[in-house]
């Protein structure tokens, strides 16, 4: 298996002085679910936001190191961030349907990318809503406002919106934190389907979710990568004391 993403000595400090990542190096496998977990403030979300350069919107004081995606350093200022964000899609903790219909939400990114052909757009709507396991629930009301859906449905539409762009990497930042167990199950099931085609990086909202979904797992504590291993090994026999304490629920 190939490393789709290679992170080398990545450090990042925010303008308010908080240090968010300290010298993180790791490789992320293609066609697998890699889970980044650990207590709040550990740098998981910051790392995700580096991968699609969304941190460009935040006041960052200093950063160093590099992130190679398919061998190309995406932190290079010359990188086309729009193209990068089409290749690296992101689902956020709270579903944010844009103030438009379900269909318009799904094709938003494609239209921006210049796709005008109705057949292509319709095809993308159906394909991505099916992949996100929401097609059957919304196919008869695609022109309704997306905000009218339930939270769980909204989140899957948001996932479909990312999938419509046919990205190569999907970042999910606690995508089920606001959802009930049934919706969570549906999103997790969709993830398992997705990893066949995509590189999936997930920040889970609980250790249990991490254990359920991880092919590979990385434990972050105060900006440092403490342990990174095969998911099954990590959650049955962690090597580091800190990891074990966290998984066993001794702190968090």
């Amino acid at each position: 298996m190939v490393d789709k993403i290679v992170i080398e000595n990545l450090s990042l400090q925010y303008s308010d002085g908080t240090e968010s990542l300290r010298n993180v190096s790791m490789g992320i496998r293609q066609n697998a679910v890699t889970v980044l977990f650990g207590p709040a403030g550990g740098g998981k979300s910051t790392l995700l936001r580096c991968l699609n350069r969304l941190n460009d919107l935040t006041e960052v004081k200093a950063s160093s190191g590099q992130i190679l995606i398919d061998g190309e350093n995406i932190l290079d200022p010359k990188v086309d961030v729009v193209a990068l964000r089409r290749k690296v899609g992101m689902v956020f903790a709270r579903p944010v349907p844009l103030p438009m219909s379900i269909r318009e939400n799904v094709i938003y990114g494609l239209e921006l990318a210049g796709e005008k052909r109705k057949s292509k757009l319709d095809e993308a709507v159906e394909r991505s809503l099916k992949l996100a396991a929401i097609w059957d629930e919304v196919k008869d009301r695609l022109d309704d406002p997306a905000v009218a859906l339930s939270g769980g449905q909204q989140q899957r539409v948001c996932l479909a919106r990312v999938l419509a762009l046919q990205p190569e990497i999907i970042l999910l930042d606690e995508p089920t934190s606001g959802l009930d167990p049934i919706s969570t199950g549906k999103v997790e099931a969709a993830l398992l389907e997705l990893k066949k085609e995509y590189t999936v990086i997930l920040v889970p909202h609980s250790v249990q979710q991490a254990a359920r979904t991880a092919d590979y797992a990385a434990f972050f504590l105060t900006g440092e990568l403490i342990e990174y291993d095969d998911g099954r090994k990590m959650f049955t026999a962690p090597k580091q004391r800190k990891t074990e304490d966290y998984i066993m629920g001794r702190f968090g």
Binding site: N52, L54, L57, V82, A83, R85, R86, G89, M90, F92, R94, V96, P97, L98, P99, Y108, G109, L112, A113, P145, V147, C158, R161, V162, L165
Partner: protein
């Protein structure tokens, strides 16, 4: 003892609430009173002939068409300059500007611009547009002067409504490969539009009713025909009202109040439109 005290507190509260309610009612009275008074006094003067005719007999008879058309022209002229400039400035301040010395200076200027007395705008317009740029006493010069006066209202309300669009929309849009400008055009402006329109209308409404800024820059005492180009002077409702109330002896009082009524209806109509836009948008809003 305790019981008495408690009852006493309720009484104090009841008196307090009654006073506050009374004050709220009192604030409404002058507005309602003004409208009723003007309607009563001027209603009889307003007729088709009054709205579509020219003044004659030294403005003591006839209609006020040139003043109505003039105010319409001035309002449109003001909109042409102040709306694009104001919205562009608001977009810059709300979406692009970083907090630094330059933006603080711009904000300070806008706040101060809003506090300048309107007659000072008039003098400024006379100096800059009428004399220095040689536009003469004209619709153009008056519109530009009114635009400067209107800008702070438009900029601050537009900036406010741009800022009220949730940040998460911007983040999501950008994460889907939109540029900043695409995000503004397709999401932020669309959602902020009703608020912006309300601010625009309120600003223009103020411009339509002002006398001092147009006094030296574009208003005419009397014109026998309608203005033919932006470089012509024009009659205007607020200035006409000032003229017939103070400058013309033996002026029939109904004509004065009739003119006031027309101006009032003009401005209140704009107000109603703004309110309708705002409430309809609020009902439709998806966040």
């Amino acid at each position: 003892m305790m019981k008495l005290f408690a009852r006493n507190r309720h009484t104090v509260q009841r008196i307090g609430f009654s006073l506050i309610t009374l004050m709220a009612v009192v604030t409404v009275l002058p507005i309602v009173g003004t409208v009723i008074f003007i309607l009563f006094k001027g209603g009889s003067a307003v007729s088709w002939e009054f709205l579509t005719g020219f003044p004659h007999d030294g403005m003591r008879a006839g209609g006020i068409l040139p003043a109505i058309i003039g105010t319409l022209y001035l309002t449109i002229g003001t909109a042409i300059f102040s709306v694009p400039l104001g919205i562009a400035a608001a977009i810059y301040l709300a979406e692009y500007a970083k907090e630094n010395r330059l933006t603080r200076l711009i904000r300070l200027a806008i706040i101060n611009l809003a506090g300048i007395p309107s007659v000072v705008y008039g003098l400024f317009g006379l100096g800059l547009f009428v004399l220095f740029l040689q536009f003469g006493t004209s619709i153009l010069a008056a519109s530009l002067t009114l635009s400067i006066m209107t800008l702070p209202v438009i900029i601050s309300t537009a900036e406010e409504s741009l800022r009220s669009v949730p940040q998460s929309f911007r983040t999501v849009s950008i994460s889907l490969g939109a540029t900043r400008w695409q995000t503004i055009r397709r999401i932020v402006l669309k959602e902020a539009l009703p608020g912006i329109l309300t601010g625009v209308i309120l600003g223009l409404e103020r411009a339509a009713g002002e006398t001092a800024p147009i006094l030296f820059t574009g208003a005419a005492f009397f014109l026998p025909r309608l203005p033919g180009s932006p470089f012509d002077a024009t009659m205007a409702l607020p200035y006409h009202l000032f003229v017939i109330s103070t400058q013309v002896p033996e002026m029939p009082i109904q004509i004065q109040y009739g003119t006031a009524l027309v101006l009032l209806v003009f401005v209140l109509t704009m107000n109603v439109v703004a309110t309708v836009i705002r409430s309809r948008a609020r009902a439709r809003r998806q966040w």
